[in-house]
Amino acid sequence: MGRKLVNLDNVYANNLGMLKKICEIDNPSIVYQSNFFEELFPKDTKKDTFFAQLAYYSEIPVGAIKSKLYPKKKGDIYPKGVHIEVMAVLDQYKDNGIEDEFLQYVSEQCKNHHQHNIYVHVPVSNENTISWYKDHGFEAEEQPLKEIFTTKEGSVDGILLKKHIE
């Protein structure tokens, strides 16, 4: 007994649909790139490294995270480090500390891969999320980045947040 109510587990090709569903429900306005989910299970041998997890509340999948390792800097938008590409938790399950667990998970992956920075892009309008990240030790870059999100209404500016870990 003494089983935890919330657990994280890997994403598999067979339950990729869950990840997709959670992301789409949580951010209904975002338009994901065509290969955004499928790239976790590439048909050819690609070298990109992803860290993706599903969060289960009493065995029901309720949260999802997908992050990507950038071993080298890639343009101004993607500095070296681990980038959280999406982190979503179903609305009704938000108060269970799932986000914290996700963050914990990403930090560990960061350490395991000898990285010192976690990055995340958030649309400028999404103040709640930005303040959540700030509360968790993230710092915002000065300048918002132009039009990096595609939504159903058009492009949106984003802000890059960064957390440094030793």
């Binding site: 067979n14 649909g17 569903k21 029901i60 309720v62 009704q92 938000k94 108060d95």
Partner: protein, 840 residues
């Protein structure tokens, strides 16, 4: 089996044959056959037959060819051999060979004939008796089987299997006392010599003997005491303690020793407190079945003994009348399950919904709605979603589709990652007739969890219901072995997935009807204009229509084949069960075999096939009437026609790959064309479906409507009368189907009807004798309005009855249609749509 393996290893073949006489050489060929060297055997036989062609050689050559896979040649040789034999006057070996061949091709009656002949013609091979007994058991000739078993037993008394086999045969033939004696005799012989390995067999035989004794005792108290005594003596040796205790209790009950019986039932409950049956029997033994007060006390007590068990909590819900108390008990039963998030909560309560429809749903609705209102969707997400799920099922059960939909949407909105909710939502949509949407919802759910076989199957089924066969096959193929074919259809046949095949058959049938309707419309539009596009469209539709009907029939036949295979599979067990010493399992298998062709799946396939075959028959009658109706369409441009034909052939080849169900070598008729082209649809239907059903079905479960329809088309009015009166006994003289059958039968006795004169007379006499209230005088009156008579005198709002009337085409089509529409106006959308699209 008498095909001995191993044997000598004859290396020298034809060369060494020279010099020996004909018979010795033949025996050598036989040995080669036994050593599975069929080709060499044939070679030797060929050299022999250069000199002298004997039935022996031909028969053996036939058998050799059969095992080499050359089945048509084999049949030919065997036929030649038999033609050379007068009656069954042949050498014992020849007869034996023929018997083996006949068994291999599954003509068991012939096989028995030749095995018997072999013995009559002086074979000393006693093994034949065992084969004979097996075959006789397979065709159900147990009297003959008993004789064979006895002979075999006499020759080989040293084997337990033969004693068991003999006892079983005696038991089946009603010679129970002899069976008991046989078993007892062996027990004496074996006493003290039974090894550890034989203990299981021994225990089965002991309890089987007790079975026979119990059946033999009937209600005779003295004999029952003896059975009980026997049971006590064998108890330490018997493994099946449940069976033993159940037997003990039922003997006590028969003897009127209810106190002892109740004690045994309590022991049984203790062993397995989840078996509802034991609780019921305990009630009977305590004599409290009608006293609800005592029952309540009993179950309260039992609930304290077995706090984690369903039965003592559930059973009181079936009889408590007081609403407040019932309500309290229901909450105690349901709410903990919702709290834990038990998906099956509704299924657990559903029996109560059916049994106590007036009170249970009402109470439960309030309980769950109240409970749901107390749940915070964020703090108690689990009880919240499962309560919504429960309520949705609740309203679906009450056919309040809108509310059902509301609640399932609530659940999905809350937790969109729960596959169950999608299943339920699709089910609701199915009931409201939105089949395509239902399939799409299931697909959405399926994509959440690709490794879930259950939702995969459901998704397939819903696609088939929505007539999207290609998509269904694609999804189903994710879980099948698709080695040498483009999809899983072949594999699904191999694994006998009858759920898929029957659904596919029905989908094809619906698609056939749609194609036919479309074709008719299109033809009506293009009577004179020579539109090129339309003509190719028509060609396409013609092909679809034919293809779908053929495939539908093909699939129904596949199911019939499965059941024939099941029947055939029993063959091995007539000897296997004896050897393994499992007489009780054997008896169970025989009972199963006796109602094989009444299983729901078989009946479903039969009904589906009946629709097609009956229509084929009716159409053939129509065609006879207006034989010049065809080929109205002029031949178009030849070049174009050729091009069209070639593109169609290409299409056909592609379709062929998708539809193929059996290995190509075994079955050439992929689309079921041959089945469609039969000249005798009724006969084929009989031999492939109806005859087996008719043999096994019991009166209470018989489909009298099908009987009637079949015999009506056969012109066997006396049998129609039989179906009519059986139906009347079950459903009364006011029932719509009875009325429809009676009217059809009356009209069949008209002078103008084509039925046999004697049949007409029999039917008339029968109707006069039993149903003189029918307007039999009006038979020849053309102005009598039969439809109106039907409407005024029977429960005319009966879909089955109206469909029966419609099929005969004896009545004004529009009027019947009107009646049908009126009848289904109150039904659920699913049925309405079905009738509108595929029946009218």
């Amino acid at each position: 089996m008498s095909r001995r393996r191993g044997g000598a290893k004859p290396k020298q073949v034809a060369k060494a044959a020279a010099g020996k006489d004909h018979h010795t050489q033949f025996l050598e060929a036989l040995k080669l056959y036994e050593g599975k060297q069929y080709k060499k055997s044939i070679k030797l036989l060929d050299t022999l037959m250069k000199k002298h062609v004997t039935p022996d050689c031909l028969a053996l050559k036939g058998l050799d060819s059969y095992f080499l896979g050359e089945k048509t040649e084999a049949a030919d040789f065997v036929k030649q051999a038999i033609s050379k034999i007068e009656g069954t006057k042949a050498s014992a070996i020849c007869c034996h060979v023929l018997g083996i061949y006949m068994r291999s091709v599954k003509s068991y009656a012939d096989s028995i004939k030749w095995f018997q002949a072999s013995l009559d013609n002086g074979s000393t091979n006693k093994q034949i008796y065992r084969d004979l007994a097996t075959l006789q058991s397979q065709i159900g000739d147990f009297k003959a089987a008993l004789a064979s078993r006895k002979k075999y037993w006499e020759s080989f008394v040293g084997y337990r299997a033969n004693w068991t086999a003999l006892a079983i045969a005696q038991d089946i033939n009603g010679e129970r006392q002899q069976a008991i004696n046989t078993l007892s005799q062996f027990e004496k012989l074996a006493e003290g010599k039974i090894s550890e390995a034989e203990m299981y067999e021994h225990n089965e035989c002991l309890i089987y003997k007790n079975d026979i004794m119990y059946r033999n005792a009937g209600d005779n108290g003295e004999k029952l005491e003896k059975v009980l005594h026997h049971l006590d003596t064998i108890e330490p040796k018997v493994f099946d303690k449940f069976g033993l205790l159940e037997r003990k209790a039922s003997i006590f009950m028969k003897l009127g020793k209810v106190k002892e019986a109740s004690l045994v039932y309590r022991t049984l409950i203790k062993r397995n407190p989840d078996n509802f049956k034991y609780y019921k029997l305990l009630e009977v033994s305590l004599g409290v079945t009608t006293n609800n007060k005592l029952r309540k006390v009993l179950y309260e007590k039992l609930a304290t003994f077995y706090p984690r068990c369903e039965a003592p909590k559930f059973i009181p819900l079936t009889f408590i009348h007081d609403e407040t108390e019932l309500s309290k008990k229901l909450s105690e039963y349901i709410l903990p399950q919702l709290k834990r998030g038990v998906p099956a909560t509704f299924s657990n309560v559903k029996p109560l919904y059916l049994k106590r429809r007036n009170i249970i749903p009402k109470l439960v609705e309030k309980i769950v709605i109240d409970y749901l209102s107390e749940q915070d969707s964020k703090k108690q997400p689990i009880p919240y979603i499962w309560s919504c799920y429960y309520l949705s099922q609740h309203y679906l059960n009450l056919r309040d589709y809108q509310k059902a939909h509301e609640y399932v949407e609530k659940a999905i909105g809350h937790t969109p990652t729960m596959v169950e909710f999608y299943l339920l939502k699709a089910r609701i949509l199915k009931h409201t007739g939105e089949l395509d949407k239902a399939a799409a919802i299931l697909e959405e759910g399926r994509n959440l969890d690709l490794q879930d076989r259950f939702i995969n199957c459901k998704s397939v089924k819903y696609y088939l219901r929505a007539n999207q066969v290609d998509k269904a096959v694609e999804v189903a193929s994710l879980f099948t072995k698709n080695d040498d074919s483009v999809n899983g259809v072949k594999d699904l046949h191999l694994v006998e997935a009858s759920w898929f095949i029957s659904e596919q058959a029905e989908a094809y049938h619906r698609m056939h009807i749609s194609a036919q309707k479309k074709l008719e419309e299109l033809r009506a539009e293009t009577t004179d204009s020579e539109d090129e596009n339309k003509s190719s469209e028509i060609k396409e539709l013609e092909w679809s229509m034919e293809k779908y009907e053929g495939l539908s029939l093909k699939r129904f036949h596949a199911i019939s084949k499965f059941y024939k295979q099941f029947e055939d599979d029993q063959l091995d067990f007539h000897s296997y069960c004896m050897r393994k010493g499992t007489p009780r399992a054997y008896m169970e298998m025989l009972a199963w075999g006796n109602k094989l062709y009444t299983q729901p799946m078989y009946v479903r396939a039969m009904n589906g096939a009946a629709k097609i075959y009956f229509k084929m028959y009716d159409n053939s009658l129509k065609r006879k009437q207006d034989s010049d109706g065809s080929s109205k369409f002029a031949e178009g441009d030849k070049k174009k026609a050729k091009k069209e034909a070639s593109s169609l052939t290409k299409r056909k080849n592609e379709d062929r790959k998708k539809a193929i169900a059996y290995p190509e070598s075994e079955d050439k008729d992929v689309f079921g064309d041959e089945l469609l082209n039969t000249k005798e649809p009724l006969k084929i239907f009989d031999s492939n479906f109806y005859a087996d059903y008719n043999k096994q079905v019991q009166d209470y479960e018989r489909n009298n409507i099908l009987d009637f329809e079949f015999q009506y088309r056969n012109g066997k009015l006396a049998l129609c009368l039989g179906a009519l009166s059986k139906y009347e006994k079950k459903n009364g003289q006011k029932s719509g189907v009875f009325g429809a059958m009676a009217i059809i039968l009356i009209l069949a006795t008209r002078e103008s009807s084509t039925c046999d004169l004697i049949a007409k007379k029999v039917a008339t006499k029968g109707l006069e004798a039993d149903y003189s209230f029918l307007p039999l005088n009006e038979v020849e009156n053309d102005s009598f309005d039969w439809l109106n008579y039907f409407k005024e005198n029977f429960h005319s709002k009966d879909l089955n009855a109206l469909l029966l009337l419609k099929q005969t085409s004896l009545f004004d089509e529009d009027k019947v249609k009107e009646l049908i529409l009126d009848t289904i106006s109150q039904d659920e959308p699913l049925l309405q749509n079905y009738v509108l699209q595929y029946v009218l």
